[in-house]
Amino acid sequence: MAEQVLIRQGAEARVYKTTMPDGRVAVAKQRFSKSYRHPDLDAKLTRGRLNQEARSLKRCKEHGICVPEVIRVDKSSATLFIEFIHGPTLKEWIVANGNPDQENELMATVGRILHQMHSFDVIHGDLTTSNMILDSSNQLVLIDFGLSQISSSAEDKAVDLYVLERAFISTHPNSERLFATVLEAYSVSEAARLILRRLEDVRQRGRKRDMSG
């Protein structure tokens, strides 16, 4: 077995940088079981997310959306081997960058990519600025599809955008402008406009919630 270097200890997976037998540098994402949850539920989630992540990555790849290539799925150790993407996360890039024009340009790219992904019914499920990487050729790569699903529903797509909006608000000071640019670039089809109207409903549901449930 090649040497593995732990690069991130997430909430439910350990992420290692490793070298495959053919010499390729790869990321090994190993899901671990959680003792707090019922064994049946734990097995269902670990297995389900491992498979779904691989499935969604492949689907994105097939449709030309930039994601890491799936190298191997090892069910026995609940490990997903994917291509290693070198570069800063979008969050790191935004924090380091001060140029509003470049920022706007990149936000528009985010919007276009998400529109493309949704048009192929891939729901990411955990969109944040930490789950996007700018690779060495300045290409935006989506990662972390562990909570993803395949769905054609406008509601699911709207919630996907809502999750990203919330991540922007809690992470970036000038989130309003940034996210507005994302949505503007997203809104390039009739279907997209329908999803944005749905997003308004999802937002209202959040804000109008009160004690009477």
């Binding site: 909430a11 003792s35 949850r37 019922h38 996907d160 999750v163």
Partner: protein, 355 residues
Amino acid sequence: MDTKAPRTVVALGLEGSANKLGIGIVKHVYPSGISSDGELSPEYIELANVRDTYNPPAGEGFLPRDVAAHHRSTIITLVRQAFEEAKIGPQDLDCICYTKGPGMGAPLQSVALVARTLSQIWDVPLVGVNHCVGHIEMGRAITGAQNPVVLYVSGGNTQVIAYSQQTYRIFGETLDIAIGNCLDRFARVLMLPNDPSPGYNIEQYAKRGSKFIELPYTVKGMDVSFSGILSFIEKLAKTEPDKYSPEDLCYSLQENMFAMLVEITERAMAHIGATEVLVVGGVGCNVRLQEMMGQMAQERGGKVFATDMRYCIDNGIMIAQAGALAFARDFTTSIEDSWITQRFRTDQVHVEWRV
């Protein structure tokens, strides 16, 4: 302000945003005065914490006008009881704190009216308090948790919160109904009694359950959704009562929904690098939830903090606690501004007493 002289703040707190009416009195002691900047962490002395709960019959939820009628008819007795317990009089108060929101309109209004009246009779300033911030400040005061990720779970709210730059920021929350609302409504389906609370009775049933029934599991980023689970399990309970016992249903419902909560809490902890977690709100008394949260925290090398029924269920002293801190930073609410609001988000409060 003289920061060297010892100072105390005595606050009366009135809470009635849902079916509990709570009156509390707290005394904060600042041995070397209140500094004009820096974090306020006064010595906390509980003088009184009394409560009266309105319970509708089994199978029914509480209606705002009935709850308001309960609060109106009980509040004077309860305020008197609090003063007797505290062994102080109105002349000893520095401020009167009341829940401005969020909550049910009519009950909030009935309590705010009393707060306003007492403020004018006794000539004591008013402090309007956000209910959720009250829960958080109470949890911090009781447990001593320093800078935890907060899971706020009750009949009306489900939020994962972390403090940053004088704001309690909401990292994750429910996309539809609150977890307590889901538990309450399922208790009604099973016709469990509302006394002492529907959630408590679900917890007792769950302890006797053993068969895990698979239910929808809906986590989206750091948000969760419960309405689909509720309709699913309601259907199971109604259509196949012979196949699924109420005990197993309660057990599975808790295991499933609590796992969702622990998962989003852990994700928030990983996101900001926190090791402490504080559970507040009525559902926070659930021992199974505390246990699961504890296991997760331990695996991360951290710790869970929780309080018992006196403090995690809605109470008056938590309103006094948060109000007294704001008051120490010179915050008061004028009579003109002493309205209430059903919608008042946790992140709308400027937390001036922290740095």
